[in-house]
Amino acid sequence: MSQKISRRNFLKLATAGAATTAVLTGCGPASRYVTREPYTKMPEYTYNGLSTYYATTCRECAAGCGLIVRTMQGRAIKVEGNPANPINLGKTCARGQATLHGLYNPDRVEFPIKQGRSAALGTTAMKWEEAFQIVADAMNNANASEIAFLLGTASDHLFDLITDFTTAIGAPAPVRFGALSMFESRATLSQAAENLLGEAGLPFFDLANSDLVVSFGSNFLETWLSPVAYTRGFAKMRRGNTQKRGYLIQFESQMSQTAAKADEWIPVLPGTEGLIALALGRLVAEAKGGSTPRAFASVNVEEVSAKSGVSLEQLEHIAGLIAQAQAPLAVPGGQALGQSNGLSTAEAVLALNALADNYGKPGGVFISPLSPNEDAYHRPASAKEMADFIATLKNGSVKTLFIHGVNPLFEIPKPLGFVEALASVPTVISFATFPDETALASDYIFPDHQGLEAWGYQRSATGAMHSVLSGAQPVVSPMHDTRSTADVLIEAARLAGGKFAEALPFTDEVAFIRSKIANLIGRADGSFAAPEINTFASYFQQSGGWWSAAGASASSSAASALGKTIVIDEAAFAGDGEFFFIPFISPTLGEAGANKPWLQELPDPMTTVMWNSWVAMNPETAHHLGVENDDVVKIISEAGEVEVAVYEYPAIHPEVVAMPFGQGHTAYGRFATAKLPQDRFLGLVPHGGLIGDAFQRGANPADVLGAHFNKAGDLAFAGMKVKIEKTGRKQYLSRLESRIGVYGEGFPEEK
């Protein structure tokens, strides 16, 4: 409840920003919602009723897609993809489109705030000058090792700035973590790549030029690494080649959106994907003739078929397809890696690619090129590293914790103990744009701009064979009294003086960014070239970043890969429940989309559920449990329990239950929490409705995840077993689909 009160206080305190909204809400058909009154001081480049377009970067996830935002009279009207940016080539996903609802969200933190961590202290507004002083004091009053930075997944200019800063003052390097990286298992991927190819880095799978894709639990059409790029690749694979229609096979225990597009979806028992990869490898090798490579020698196909529940015929059939395909491609990912044996699974799948000998070839596997101003691939922290970081917080060796771009209280599994860690840190300063759980649990909130109001750049870890640095610039003047975090740090460092001031010798954020892109000046192999910084910076702004003109040709060889023995040990499952628990990031909400009303209104592609979360289970399973649609069940794991409504999902392994991540907020604005209050005068028909705390929307699967890691240190999020209990309550899920028409509920005969 404390959060509730403090959130209310934001709204009470809200003054300056919201008053600038030039909006009428009169009635009568002729009244205007959007007044078209002119600027009082109109910039010469704008005319009334004509739009201006700005290139920037999407900050909704770490992919780094380029955007072109249409603005009119100082308001951002529409987000469009940047056609030049090689990551997304002018396309956007739903989350990118809805970023405007983040910009104009009614629940933003509108000015710096000091708040007690307990409700009693309440919240008070601050001046930015005080804020700078507080940050400066935090730096001064602690010796370097006692300052810690926790950042979001994206590798952006702020990360660079803080890295430089910490290295200069000798503080521990910033930690980047987020739900996306947690569910993407980047550490596992790069680890596997290193083990097999001796080259760390994020593999890029060139779907576009492949003709047969075998995906092991990888959800590349939804949220995995760079969904827009991979979707484009998929489309090309399917229809790009006029001679042959690309073929997609998906091994996954529940039919994800990606699996729904697959020509063959093969339900497997979680944790057996690696075995299947090996078995396929062996069969393919045999089909091709010649000796079976060491990688696949150890595996016993019958055993695999028995364990995974994939029939021998199916395995042989698929092996045959792979053997015949010109450019077969195997993609690991998603729940396959989120297992205790995730690393070896990844290795097995990469080995399968090695067998197909498609490394560095079109339609094969590449190591994603580094970004222009990147020395080496800095992947976000793995769950293990995060756990260590939390441990350091716990043992009180950190006096001040700066949090930016991540909401650990919501995103991190409870057993990692971030709550206690937070309690043991004297000063927590959050730079959150929105009043999320973590921000409300910190001492100060010094709100950063929303992505569309901010300067910066973002590296794209993967998604294209180009080396890409996406540039960001403000498309509108800030709505509220917010400051860019970089500016805050620079200002504070200046106030702190001494080594701090030396560490950040910049007038402001822009100056820093210019210093970081300076090394590209004069490079001729890029999207543009400029002799000196001013021209370069303006081009950089205008075209939304810099990228190499030609796709890098990866020179990795896979010779060594096949020589290595790969043993897939039995996947270990924590907990004594009878169901495998598979969490996945909601394709529409992503990790942090819950506060954007239109993302909430988007139906989930597979279940068409809106505004809430569900647990998908096979109708048989539901029948055995004696529950049906909309019944609220309690999911109990060793780590905790959540209550969520049942969705009878016809395409899921009977022993598996799946649940989307993204809902279940207890803060983070009105759309993410309590449902829109509807008219109660005639709530004769209960639709929607809430469970548990009236202030929570949906449920958060992270509450039942335990702290178990695979060998690469990534979270074994799919390695849980859970019990399911009835609660007897109902929660009507809002679906777009018709249960009469699609499932024949209450419909007498076969449609």
Binding site: P29, A30, V34, T40, K41, Y47, N48, G49, L50
Partner: protein, 199 residues
């Protein structure tokens, strides 16, 4: 009761009273309509008469009309561009608001006079391109101080013009040329299409 009223109405006094009531209602309505037709209160008593008299083109202050939907209303900078060179600016009480605004750096917001409802998507550009003069719709600005609408701008008014300018008569098509009349026909189709303004 009813009967009494009935008889009273029939009596001469009653009839007079009735007439008076009806007339007063009418005059009230008329007054209301009249009120809606008054030019609004502007931040400055801007005299179109004077400025147009000085030979300033409409498009100088309302340039958007050439390029896009809305001609735009001049910002204070534009006013200041000329007025700072005019001595009278500092003295004239009428111009005081502008001077103050300029010094305060706030500028002022005009009240749009010729405003179409938000379900009408009107664009100036094609009208100017079609060779219409501003006064065709906005009246003769050499006569008014504060701009006001010479007529009620409703759909019938728009359509009349659209139709008359595209009908295949001697004035539009003196030679009776078949191609011209075909063009006129197509143009009329476009100009009387609901979707041209409403979406």
């Amino acid at each position: 009761m009813i009967r009494k009223f009935f008889e009273w109405v029939l009596s001469p006094m009653g009839r007079i009273a009735m007439v008076i009531t009806v007339m007063s209602l009418f005059s009230l309505a008329a007054y209301g309509v009249y009120q809606t037709q008054q030019p609004p209160e502007q931040p400055i008593q801007f005299t179109h008469k004077l400025h147009v008299g000085l030979g300033i083109q409409c498009l100088y202050c309302h340039p958007g009309a050439l390029r896009g939907p809305s001609p735009g209303l001049p910002t204070i900078n534009k006013c200041w561009g000329c007025h700072q060179q005019i001595a009278k600016t500092q003295t004239s009480p009428l111009l005081k608001p502008m001077v103050d605004a300029m010094n305060a750096g706030v500028g002022f917001t005009w009240v749009p006079v010729a405003q179409v409802p938000d379900f009408v998507h009107f664009t100036h550009r094609p009208h100017i391109a079609a060779g219409l003069n501003c006064e065709k719709c906005h009246g003769d600005m050499t006569k008014v101080t504060i701009a006001e609408n010479p007529q009620v701008m409703n759909m019938g008014w728009c359509l009349n013009c659209h139709k008359s300018r595209t009908e295949d008569n001697f004035q539009n098509n003196p030679t009776g040329d078949a191609i011209v009349s075909a063009q006129l026909e197509e143009k009329r189709t476009k100009l009387t299409d609901c979707g041209t303004c409403h979406y």
